[in-house]
Amino acid sequence: KPHRFTEVFQALQRLHMTIFSQSVSPCGKFLAAGNNYGQIAIFSLSAALSSEAKEESKKPVVTFQAHDGPVYSMVSTDRHLLSAGDGEVKAWLWAEMLKKGCKELWHRQPPYRTSLEVPEINALLLVPKENSLILAGGDCQLHTMDLETGTFTRVLRGHTDYIHCLALRERSPEVLSGGEDGAVRLWDLRTAKEVQTIEVYKHEECSRPHNGRWIGCLATDSDWMVCGGGPALTLWHLRSSTPTTVFPIRAPQKHVTFYQDLILSAGQGRCVNQWQLSGELKAQVPGSSPGLLSLSLNQQPAAPECKVLTAAGNSCRVDVFTNLGYRAFSLSF
């Protein structure tokens, strides 16, 4: 009887699961997924993609409870997986995670202004040039943490509401952040100052007041930036702060990324959308979740056979696209 009870409980859990974040292992063969229950599951991409894959290959190799709250964001360094959600960032060793009973290497909490409420961390960003991690979320600030010493080196203030997403502009190096206040802010890391502000909702071409002004997703490609959310998904030329292309999709987009000569986006709605920079919709490929929250492209050079796009969102499944044209199969918690 207790066995059946746990089965029912697990089935219910899967029904109400939302996967918020994904991260590919440095070797490229594994994919970590973080959900709203605070669990992280590690899937073996190489096993699921191999010709002898069975149904069990699409299940996680290991699942463990990582955080007390949802795992909103994850990134991987060359040896660690960093996960964050409920105000803390934790580090896990990739090599150790596949064994059961894995413990976190360390956990840190940025210096928050009030110790009463611990704000959630919505986004993590690695800055390889200075070996640091940037965290942003509910306290409307960007915190930089040195990965070697674990000390918090800077606080970037300017947003007036919580921050949803971060992007790195490698050349400068600059960080872009977007959030509830509807502004995309560019920060110069050397001077720790805000160098440019784009108030997306103030531009007629892309503002959609009925959706709100929140910026849900952000991506940058040196001189260009694409962002979406409440306002329409728009391509911006950064230096002149002008919106050049508005992508004609009504549904708010929750994740966007540049890939080769395309822009991939996903959000409310089943499909992964592929756009040309000219604004044309090249393809819309449906996934298995009613809405998508994160896309991950496995471009790790060590595993070219695992070069796939994975999409996850409002379900317990992670869709795997081996070719951008169709969904090959889905992994599931």
Partner: protein, 152 residues
């Protein structure tokens, strides 16, 4: 007995020939197999080459689209020459108008000064006339008092 011997010779000859044939077939197949392997390797290389070309072409397409996107925005803004011309024309108008303003102001100054001269002259004249009147009054009064006050 001779016929059995010759039959045996015949079948042995046949088997030898078949054996030769099989050997040569094997050689042939080996040759074909190697050729196919070579062409597979060649095809792999071509595929890799084509993949590189695709990436390059995608990069070019992306650059072209970025250019187009910016060009569209730039087109919306008016032509630089026209704007410069308009600016020049406006500048000239501004100069012209300020000249007019200067000349009008000068004229105003001049008129003001002329009026001032006029008014002060009038005032002087008034003063002179008043003085004259006063003098004549005094004279009249003196005359009157001399008449009423005869020889002592």
């Amino acid at each position: 007995m001779l016929s059995t011997l010759s039959q045996c010779e015949f079948s042995m000859g046949k088997t030898l020939l078949v054996y030769d044939m099989n050997l040569r077939e094997m050689e042939n197949y080996e040759k074909i197999y190697k050729e196919i392997e070579c062409s597979i390797a060649g095809a792999h290389e071509k595929i890799a080459e084509c993949k590189k070309q695709i990436l390059q072409a995608k990069r070019i397409r992306k650059n072209r689209q970025e250019y187009d996107a910016l060009a569209k925005v730039i087109q919306h803004h008016p032509d630089r020459h026209e704007t410069l011309k308009e600016l020049e024309a406006l500048g000239k108008e501004l100069e012209h108008l300020s000249h007019i303003k200067e000349s009008v102001e000068d004229k105003l100054e001049l008129r003001r000064k002329q009026f001032h001269v006029l008014l002060s002259t009038i005032h002087e004249l008034q003063q002179t006339l008043e003085n004259d009147e006063k003098l004549s009054e005094v004279e009249d009064a003196q005359e009157a008092s001399m008449e009423t006050d005869p020889k002592p």
